[in-house]
Amino acid sequence: MLDYLVSLSVFAGLYGLLALGLNLVWGLGGMVNLGLAGLFAIGAYASALAELRLHLALPAAAILATLLAAGAGALLAVVTARLKGDYLAIVTLGFAEVIQLLAANEIWLTNGTDGLSAIPAPGRGQLSPFHFDIASTSAVWLAVILVSLLLWRLSQAPYGRALRAIREDETVAAVAGKRVLAFKVSAFAAGSAVMGLAGSLYAAYTGYVAPDSFDVLVTLLVVLALTAGGLGSMAGAVLGAILVVVLTEGTRFLGGLLPDLSALQVASLRQGMIGVFLLLLLRFRPEGILPERMRRHHLED
């Protein structure tokens, strides 16, 4: 059981990183970025290819993956600079689809739908599977802690205030002298960098990447994590990611409790329960479990 919980904590940490990245872009910047599966894929493929073809060590590959994802994110932000809300959501979702199609069809680079396997990671093969999972979860959660501290600091800094001002009203922010486009692009790039880092760690941990790993499911889970945890709050993003893993994996044990249901019924019930949970949460606590806290400054009379 412990082995299983440790391996789940790795996935919880990876979802946590993705949720943190999305939180900077969407939570603080107000830009609905549903392209996160694409940026996650860019990070994973870049890291895997750097390790397999260029024979870089994982840390170097992770840095490369992070930078590449940041670049792609910046480009996406420039292209979509004029879009907002639903329109931005659709275009970014399309971006993720394009990346998945590229991964499936550019066989010379990505090995197509067969994917890239045997991606090296320090300790794999030398450590027992259990100890490898312990090492992986330590590395992933170290990244989660560092990234959340960094992003929290950023959100408290003048940069974060300006970003929130743009989220609330772009025109007002522009009138106040903030360079809206520069803020948007830099936030998008930084958020994408975090997603790219998550991709690199994912590739190293599972040792395998394929286009199927980056379908819309991962986007849905991360959006769910962020909404449940509290949009705009870094601690909320991480808590939401843990909650999503507890919810999706905990419901696996339903089958044992309901032996009369068929496997399909249990599977459908599991997915239904996740949907019901989200509905209840949005009905009774629309701001999430750990909502964003605004510092208010009281003026002296």
Binding site: S7, T113, A118, Y202, Y208, A263
Partner: protein, 396 residues
Amino acid sequence: MTARISRRTALAGSLALPFLARTGEAAASIPLGAINPLTGAGGAYGPSMAKVAKALVERINRTGGVIGRPIALDVEDDQTNPTVGVEAAHKLIDVEKVVAIVGTWASAVTTAVAPLCWDSHTMLFCVSGADSITRLPHHGYIIRTQPNTYLQSGRAAEFLLRHGCKRVFGLSAQTPFAVDSWNRLKAVLGQGGAEGVGDIIYDAKQTSFRSEIDRALAAKPDTLFLNSYAPDLEILLRESYQAGFAGKRFTFAYAATDAVLKALPAPVTNGLWSFAPSPDVASPAYKAVQAILGISDPDPYSCQIYDHVALVALAIGKAGVASGVAIHDNVRRISQGPGQHVSDPVEGLRLLAEGKKINYDGASGPCHFTPSGDILSCKFLFQVAENRHNKTLSIS
């Protein structure tokens, strides 16, 4: 010497008792895992696969189990997604301590789950098609019941040779298996005195293939090998007919659908050959799958998972030990080689208990495996289009 039981030992002993009882209880049933695409892209197949696996496990348990122990089957959904598949495999291996995982469907899920299996000495039985799977460094822990590209293309080429085709041109949609497929076909044609006169890989999303067809016909083929999907096959058939090609055409059964035959005039599609790997429809095991699902034409994957469960049970019955290593070491000793042919796993278990040798022939085919885990042969269905319907030529 007298045995003295101090209060401390008594306390330690009584504290340990519940754990001993627990291990005794856990040893009673043999944990077996299934990872099936119950939802997602494979959702059309997963539920019936799970049903077949459960029904066979229940039947084995009703008739006394394996080496006197019942099998406890845990079916997990992979949502046709590799990440979810890995999470499911962690649960099965780390929590349930399964001896084997059966029925992984999508190639990406199988490839993602495979390292967890071979690291933990858990046998993995899959129905995925990608050739790359059995090339993984799996140390014998993967068994695949789905014919790979090599086997399929070889059998296609033999069919063409039997029907007197001499000059074959390949037109293939861009897929991971397009190149492997053509190379194998060309090699077998060459051995049989025929010739692969050229090939083109095209983008299946094109709306016209006139230039491809012109290039193909310039090579003067007597047969077109159309490695297509349904939408592009329809265009290729129409445009090659319009271009005056009167030779033979060969394709996959999943492309030559009823919809394609209905969409084109009969003269365009008449004589179109198509083929698909087929379960062994004459086998009693196939009839058992029909009975479980209550349908006359169960899909190949449901037939294959029936064989997965049977192979696991029989390998454990042979070894007398329930572990992944025991299955790994014994699966070929009950599926191939000398021994009495059986198609009913329960009968096979009885024969094994009597110390007899058996050779299991399943619903999907003879279940003979290469050292790398691929099947050596299986039945293929060949059909021909006549008046907008597919007519079975042979199942061989």
